[in-house]
């Protein structure tokens, strides 16, 4: 087993315990999508595209009172070291579902009855914590598409590595570490839309882990905000 943390509290990739990886977001990278975003979250490289609101196919899925949200999380065959079968795996189906449920409280689709908003997420390169990074990109893409939203959704993971609570677990720490807790958060409303936990934590550790993750979400939110400002308000002031 590799050493995940040295005696000075420096992690395997050189970060301190409360430091997130480098995050950069670009908005509006896909011309054919109504809204899109590209995120680099450490070594994660993820594209998100949003289509809609548009007609629902198959028709029976349509809701007469409101729009619906659909989400697809997909990993490219070349996104991981061993080729991944491009067919949706059990894991991808689950992540699609949790991402959809994490975005659902944020979007307001009441004004778009009988329509669907499709969110497509493509993992080009995976490096642990991809569901959080995917959520960050999807939320920015939804704003870019002009879907009304109560708040942005920012996501970040925290976990337990070498008996310490750390922020933003990477691939190695995820596999070797003791716990991993992805959290999605609406920073202005102060509400959690996704919380998963893989591993074992004591009640105190749990509290600390959740607080750490929310702190990470707030950092990610600033980056999301900056990326949107960059695209929409680059030149000139209001």
């Amino acid at each position: 087993m590799t050493q995940l943390m040295n005696e000075n509290g420096i992690r395997c990739d050189g970060r301190s315990i409360d430091q997130i990886r480098n995050v950069s977001i670009k908005v509006g990278v896909l011309k054919n999508a109504d809204g899109s975003a590209y995120i680099e979250f450490g070594k994660n490289k993820i594209l998100a595209g949003v289509f809609g609101p548009r007609d629902v196919h198959p028709k029976h899925m349509a809701d007469q009172d409101s729009g619906i949200l659909r989400c697809r999380y997909h990993m490219s065959p070349f996104s991981v070291t061993e080729r991944k079968n491009p067919a949706p795996s059990r894991r991808e189906i689950e992540i699609s579902k949790v991402i959809k449920e994490a975005l659902q409280p944020a979007v307001i689709l009441k004004d778009f009855p009988r329509t669907v908003v499709d969110v497509f997420i493509e993992i080009l390169q995976a490096d642990g914590g991809s569901r959080c990074a995917a959520l960050d990109a999807a939320s920015v893409a939804l704003v870019d598409a002009g879907i009304p939203m109560r708040d942005m959704v920012s996501a970040c993971a925290a976990g337990k590595v070498a008996d310490k609570i750390v922020l933003d677990v990477n691939d190695e720490e995820d596999k070797e570490g003791q716990a991993d807790m992805p959290v999605a958060y609406m920073p202005n409303l102060g509400k959690i839309t996704l919380m998963q936990l893989d591993g074992i934590l004591t009640p105190n550790e749990y509290k600390k882990c959740l607080e750490t993750a929310i702190g990470g979400c707030k950092q990610v939110y600033e980056i999301q905000k900056k990326a949107l400002m960059e695209k929409y308000f680059k030149n000139g002031e209001a």
Binding site: G35, D144, G146, R150, Y232
Partner: protein, 235 residues
């Protein structure tokens, strides 16, 4: 009483203001906070708060003049792509008159797939798809021109205050510009140079819609003398 209009850049979730304000377009109220739901520019005027969005789809509104593309027809109506999440319906009676009979009249003869038509939204509510009409002045099939698609949220900027922007472009290039509220724009001009200039101007407005002094820059691009106010151009 607040009279001055306060503008601010906002993204979804941003609190625009707290207090007894009336929420209007693209905002919602949470307790005493007024929160934006879209990326755009917030405005506060006369105790009302709204956000002018910078992205998003066209939402049909009754009485809007829009440009639609025929995507097909049944025996009783045409279906239009109106650059929205809904499909527009133009009933055959609207074109043929009340004595329309599906056995006698051929819909294809009047409007065929791919035709561009200037239409007005006759009726729209959330329970039904928008109903269109061509029963008005200046409506009907568009025979010629260049089609440009811009973001529907930028249409008001292209028109400008009391039509100042569009008049500037039309006067400078001698082009005739039909603006659909849904972001579809048809430019026609006898002079090819004018046509290209007008198209460039429209695209420029689309790209720089949220920046200040846009009219000035469009004018200098079109070679209209600066410093003139819009009223003199109108004369």
């Amino acid at each position: 009483m607040m009279e001055t209009v306060k503008r601010k850049y906002v993204i979804p979730g941003d609190t625009i203001v707290t207090g007894p304000f009336r929420p209007e377009q693209n905002v919602y109220q949470d307790g005493d906070r007024i929160i934006s739901t879209s990326i755009g520019i917030s405005e506060i005027y006369e105790n009302a708060v709204r956000v002018i969005p910078l992205s998003g789809m066209y939402m049909p509104k009754t009485n809007d003049l829009i440009i639609g593309k025929v995507i097909g027809h049944s025996s009783l109506s045409w279906e239009f792509d109106i650059n929205s999440c809904f499909i527009g319906f133009l009933p055959a009676q609207d074109v043929f008159g009340r004595d329309y009979s599906p056995t006698k009249d051929e819909l294809k003869a009047r409007l065929d797939k791919g035709d561009l038509v200037a239409v007005r939204v006759a009726n729209f509510d959330r329970s039904r798809d928008p109903l269109l009409t061509i029963q008005d002045r200046d409506l009907g099939k568009i025979e010629s021109g260049e089609l440009i698609t811009i973001a529907p949220s930028k249409v008001p900027r292209l028109i400008g205050k009391r039509g100042s922007m569009i008049q500037t472009i039309e006067m400078a290039t001698k082009a005739i510009i039909t603006i659909g509220q849904n972001g579809l724009i048809v430019v026609s001009c006898e002079d090819p140079v004018g046509l290209l200039k007008a198209i460039e101007a429209v695209k420029m407005v689309d790209a720089q819609a949220h920046t200040p002094n846009l009219t000035e820059r469009v004018k200098s691009m079109l070679g209209v003398e600066l410093g003139e106010n819009n009223d003199t151009i109108n004369e």
